[in-house]
Symmetry: C2
């Protein structure tokens, strides 16, 4: 785990890597090798022994370990043991651990639900979408602990993006606005899912107690005179409820969708495609 938390001083980008044999269009910008892998754009070399494993098996085993022991415990050695191979064998399939993580996360997302703009309006569609992403994160909480290091290019990530755009197809929003709304909701769901995962069973990622205690802890720390607004909040009981966490998701999503609705209304009645042009 290095590149995933590196700061300004890390420029290990290029290095043409090894097995890039793409059937992809020529271009100045190259596809990151991981992405070629994820889309299955790699030809298997003709010569040499047949590989004993497959990328899919690596990813599946990685997900299994991450699910049962947490990503924190997922080391290359651990994964190799799971698969009954030597540690270094894994590097025949994946050029670095980060690649594996990228693949695992994309895989964990799964396929998006089919959204038909003809039978569902944008709000239903985006709600379905957001709940779908949340469900995926609920199934694979470890995915939330993997930092995002690159824009979403994996097959499932892209499919989800497409689904969100389709949900907004019958909307007067510009393409830019559709993308922005999607980004907004996607980030929101990820945040909220992380919170939910941390709160679940009262243990944060560090292992400490979290939610119902939060108000109590805050109260212990506050110089009673400053922080009057916080005191009001604490004493209103707003920080003591246990099931708040589920409400947070609905609350946030409704707020965001209301905001998008307000934007759509600015385009005036009549709806329909329009695209381009800044909001009035």
């Amino acid at each position: 785990m290095a590149a995933r938390m590196d700061g300004p001083g890390s420029a290990d980008a290029s290095s043409p890597a090894s097995g890039e044999t793409p059937a992809e269009p020529r271009s100045s910008t190259r596809l990151p090798p991981v992405i070629s892998l994820a889309w299955g754009l790699q030809r298997r070399p003709a010569r040499g022994p047949r590989p004993g494993l497959t990328l899919d098996r690596l990813v599946a085993a990685g997900i299994e370990v991450a699910s049962t022991e947490g990503v924190g415990s997922l080391s290359m050695g651990r994964l190799a043991k799971q698969l009954g191979v030597g540690t270094m064998s894994l590097y025949r399939y994946v050029s670095a651990k980060d690649d594996l993580l990228t693949l695992m996360v994309d895989n964990a997302l799964g396929r998006p639900p089919a959204i038909d703009p003809a039978t569902q309006d944008w709000r239903e569609g985006l709600t379905l979408w957001a709940e779908g992403v949340r469900a995926a994160y609920r199934r694979h909480p470890w995915a939330l602990r993997v930092p995002i290091t690159a824009p979403p290019l994996g097959p499932n990530n892209v499919a989800w993006l497409e689904a969100a755009l389709q949900a907004q197809a019958n909307t007067p929003l510009s393409e830019q606005e559709k993308l922005s709304s999607t980004l907004l909701i996607s980030g929101f769901v990820r945040n909220e899912s992380t919170l939910t995962a941390d709160f679940a069973r009262g243990a944060g990622a560090g292992g400490e107690q979290v939610m119902p205690k939060y108000g109590e802890l805050l109260a212990m720390v506050l110089p009673e005179d400053r922080f009057p607004a916080l005191h009001r909040a604490i004493h209103s009981g707003a920080l003591s409820d246990e099931d708040d966490i589920d409400h947070e998701f609905d609350f946030g999503l409704q707020r965001i969708l209301d905001g998008v609705a307000a934007l759509i209304e600015q385009y005036g009645p009549g709806g329909g495609q329009s695209g381009r042009g800044a909001a009035p």
Copy 2:
């Protein structure tokens, strides 16, 4: 870096640690030791040699290293060298690296702007607030790479929370809703700041190119027939603009604030304090 990415199977919580000498109120729930430190609730022991360092110097040096070389390069050894002491000396001030990071992040946030509900309405206040958080993250991009592992209890975090609540004081929202709105905005700003930081200078955390290329990369990967909505978006040029990133922030914030405004309007005209009770 272990606990920060650990999954389900990590229960290293307790262990009464060493130097807890709190002047804090009795309670069943203990304050995490780091938090006592952050609020300066530790008495210096009477006996023994005077410490050669201070927590503040640790934190300041940590921030300096993180700022210039990235958090990824901030190791205990590196920090010790910066301070001209032995590595293990640091553990006299901080019980683990995670504590140091927590302290650093809280410190990086700085003090919130003063928000007076009498002269600013809630929307101005929250806008100011959001921009303040964003500015802090812009000053300390490395803070975005430190995973959140516990609810915000540091002095600055708490002060920012208070400020957000104060901005909404003259609002009919319930305390619960004020907190939820704050959480929503706070998460949003963090997300957006992370994206901005990654996009800045075209390098993601992994070191790859990011933004203007994103549309191009997507286009390389898409089976042209599926993903029609995405194709529309790409060809609209929505993914090619360079300065979109700054617009994203405004867009998202406006959407969220519009959503909050919609909620406030549901309370009907007249405004004023009310609190409690679910929305009509």
